[in-house]
Symmetry: C2
Subunit: 333 residues, 2 copies
């Protein structure tokens, strides 16, 4: 097995977030399930945008946020995802590269516009997302460079990639290349509604060992096993997944492998401003630690620290240098 | 004189801000005078953008920010400024309308792209701006609707409008219409470098009474009268301007008219995150108070409160409902 040139290669939807504050009744009036990610078409995207308040545009995308988080911790990360060669696509490519992530996917010269996610943040900091996938849904196997996948210690895939059909193939191709090169494959279940759409396929990926490491939060684990009993769901996940990271918001997080679990508490946060990106940044911290040979407890703590930073401000990309925060917290030296 | 339908009509450059954190040495390496607004062409805009870190896109523009601030205080405001019919132009128009500002200037169907301002925020919270004027520089007299100007208690003009030559004519036309209708005309000097470019013309506008109310900060007043002595500069401004508002950052602000001045302290701020928009929002608070018949001390306090909110987060548009903050502070009922 050759040396790695990337700690983490992330594949996902390349999206620019449009974030706005909204009251609870806005969600109700527009039939948006609070806390969910709903796929919308262009017509609905325009209607929601017209109705929502002033926005802030910040590059996003679940796996892309994770790649940025790994880089902010001093790790070597890359991203594969498709934008259009339009204004928002230029913004996405600039931002991810400026954050230190290797991003080489050429922008599409035709077809739908760069994806955008209309995010409504309610006063409790919870986010409700409406995604117009646009160009991102046209990611295919042709965009996956085998040499780059082979060079990455962990290839990380977002569950949301299961929505655009050609991207699913790209996802499976990347997993196959990674395993053939002796690397690990990780998957985030993305959200409970996404699990609901693809439960059978996700369980199959876990059971067949296409995925070595699963990331999920409490509601996603419960959705996966269709139970309201978290402990019962966890027993099943521990039995079926080679390795799993489960995040539980303010109740902390755990890592399970070979029948044993390690747990850590949540990192303290002065004020939860916007939870967008919490799971993405938790994954970034854990993946960075895991890929660089740190023990599970340290990797979980890096995840908790990165998640705490990102929920303390608007937007799903870190604003502070995570490497400095982690060094101050004694997690890196 | 008929009843007003707007408290404040603002004319200015319609700009989307691209905000990024930067270290002091970035400014030095790119020869950017700290705290200034520099006009740049498209080539320079692309070079600076490529070199700067990940950005956040938020609608901006000095007078546009002021119009949004007036609306956030519950006032009736309008804005005149030119965007292109491109992605950033759509963002600008959406955001200002969603903030409750009447914005009717049709987007240009051809010509340069929507203006953008590349803003570097240093660790001390100070902002250094690089503006590509694009479509904004094509604002002309034809974009000024006389009926709307006549309906506004105060027409507010940004000094930056003196940079694009056709906009200067639009500025003077609006001032003439406002005065003919018995309304007031206000001008912000915008920044010390802008004053340096147009000192003679700005003094002429003040002396000839084209402007009834001048907004300036300490460095702008000193630049206007080419002196390092603030008190000496203030004596001259008091003698020449009908009415003037002078902001002094953490030293508070004053309003002078008819030889007398009223001063108020700055509003306390927990942490200065980004000073972008401080002057714009101070003007919003004062103009709202002034246009709705409040006394100068209350109007100044409204300005101080609005400025304090905007410097406590990234971006030059208020994130909180200013009307609620002002009510809590006892300034509105």
């Amino acid at each position: 097995m050759s040396a790695t040139s990337l700690d983490v290669l992330a594949l996902g939807n390349a999206i620019v977030d449009v974030i706005s504050r909204a009251e609870e009744d806005f969600l109700a009036a527009h039939a948006m399930p609070k806390g969910s990610m709903t796929l919308i078409d262009e017509v609905r995207a325009e209607a929601v945008y017209a109705a929502m308040g002033p926005g802030v545009e910040i590059s996003g995308g679940s796996a892309a946020n994770t790649a940025v988080g790994v880089a902010a911790l001093g790790g070597r990360s890359g991203f594969v995802g498709l934008v259009r060669d339009d204004a928002l696509g230029t913004v996405f490519a600039h931002d991810i590269r400026a954050a230190g992530v290797a991003f080489g996917t050429a922008a599409a010269g035709e077809g739908p516009a760069t994806a955008r996610c209309l995010i409504l943040v309610t006063p409790d900091g919870e986010r409700t997302m409406n995604t117009y996938l646009g160009a991102a849904q046209n990611l295919t196997v042709a965009h996956v460079d085998a040499a780059i996948v082979e060079s990455a210690a962990i290839t990380y895939l977002e569950g949301y990639l299961w929505d655009p059909p050609p991207a699913k193939e790209a996802f499976l191709a990347a997993a196959g290349i990674a395993h053939k090169a002796g690397r690990q494959v990780a998957l985030t279940l993305s959200d409970a509604f996404c699990v609901d759409r693809y439960r059978g396929e996700f369980l199959d990926l876990i059971r067949r060992g296409v995925v070595d490491l699963v990331f999920a939060n409490e509601t996603e684990v419960k959705s996966l096993y269709e139970t309201a009993d978290f402990d019962a769901a966890l027993v099943r996940l521990r039995a079926e997944a080679k390795q799993a990271v489960v995040t539980r918001s303010e109740k902390g997080a755990l890592f399970c492998a070979d029948g044993a679990c390690v747990t850590v508490p949540a990192f303290p946060v002065a004020e939860v401003v916007d939870t967008t990106g919490a799971g993405d940044l938790f994954a970034a911290g854990f993946l960075f630690g895991h890929a660089t040979g740190r023990d599970p407890a340290t990797s979980l703590r890096l995840g908790a620290l990165a998640a705490a930073e990102v929920i303390s401000h608007v937007g799903a990309r870190p604003q502070k240098r995570l490497i400095d925060l982690a060094t101050e917290a004694g997690l890196l030296r």
